[in-house]
Symmetry: C2
Subunit: 242 residues, 2 copies
């Protein structure tokens, strides 16, 4: 059982966008993967929880990046639990390639009951989390995003399909992010120069549901909202470099 967990990754062909750099959702896949590996190692994995009718859900993330790796590049991610309360935990990630640190990401997690879909008290379910918590150097938490007044720059509609769902049978977290990025269009030179992202996962989205994804932009700040029946289920703010 180790407090700080490290794992190595290699950027596969399917993990890059058309620029040949790793896409942000594919980088996010790796973060969620190492979160799962570390959680298994400390006995707090999703498989342990599911035996009790519980599961982890992610409430928000904050990314700060100087770059993303290129196809076939190797990089490593370090992760640890950085905060622990009755209803949520924070997990931090730092990613390094041969040139040094390229990304810092924080994430906030809840445990929900799979039937009621409501949060439960983490200290009752996983008291051992407190002992692995490393609070020193804790990364900043995501901003709570509010409805935004910028002009609408783009919007898409999507029906949630089979390939969008994860083992929790709801929209996979990195698919929200992918749909948000798709509002930038395929021209988007700006897509690869994203420096900072705040993400709020507001509500679960299920298969067959229809969502509308709206991007509002003002200079290098882009606010994206995903709506179902007019209500926000996801918000993200991207800050791109000039």
């Amino acid at each position: 059982m180790i407090n700080t967990f490290v794992h190595y990754y290699r950027v596969r062909h399917n993990e890059t966008d058309f620029t040949g750099r790793m896409s942000l959702p594919a980088f996010g896949d790796c973060l969620l993967d190492i979160a799962g590996l570390h959680a298994m190692d400390i006995g707090t994995g999703i498989d342990t929880l599911q035996h009790q009718g519980l599961t982890w859900v992610i409430a928000g993330m904050k990314f700060k990046m100087s770059r993303l790796p290129l196809i076939n590049d190797r990089f490593n991610i370090e992760t640890h639990v950085s905060a622990y309360s009755r209803i949520s935990t924070q997990r931090d990630f730092v990613a390094y390639d041969n040139s040094g640190k390229f990304a810092e990401v924080s994430s906030e997690w809840l445990i929900i009951d799979m039937n009621t879909r409501r949060p439960v008290f983490i200290n009752e379910v996983l008291p051992q989390l407190e002992s692995v918590c490393v609070s020193e150097g804790m990364l900043p938490k995501f901003k709570h995003l509010r409805p935004c007044n910028f002009d609408v720059a783009a919007e898409n509609e999507r029906t949630i399909g089979y390939s969008d769902l994860d083992v929790n049978r709801h929209l996979y977290s990195m698919r929200y992010l992918q749909m948000a990025l798709d509002t930038f269009g395929t021209e988007a030179g700006s897509v690869r120069r994203i420096a900072e992202v705040d993400i709020n996962f507001v509500s679960e989205v299920l298969g067959g549901e229809q969502v509308r994804v709206v991007r509002r932009s003002n200079g290098n700040v882009h606010d994206i909202e995903m709506l179902r029946d007019g209500k926000a289920v996801f918000r993200a703010e991207f800050v791109t470099e000039n």
Copy 2:
């Protein structure tokens, strides 16, 4: 330089569908990944070709599977070039987990000029491919699929976005497959019992283009066609177990 190349994979969270089994497109990602690794090893990789204004494109695939691995399972893939002609090569894959062989896949590849998008003669560009070819035990090639007369069971429309494109700036091959599977809906218990798939990649699809994906089914045979302006750009046939 080795004729038969082996690589190990582990099924990540994001690579499973809601049943907890690896999705077919995610398995395909691994096949394309190892194809790239082997091609690099024998000096026939996409990076080598791109310096000459050329690139690999996939023309078709045939999958035969008894099962797909579960989340966190480890498996390995063996691959080699099994046929070589002036205009195409066949690459075969066999995948094994702890219980033995679970999938055999063949794939056909062309080299195209990145400007004209037309095929070039492989023997002129990569004569060394012939010497690594292992034709013994060659797997059957995909069927050439024709327009199908079964009743329409489902259809979807999609606009090709940023996240659908690969480094060749066209629709990523496994995204065609993902969109084909999405016609089965999120109910689809059948999705995980696919035994055989034939795939024809007919035409490139570019960002911003609109496609219609139509599934026609008759018992356990499902024919899927992707159309752009009424013309087929992709066909697949899935045979599911009863």
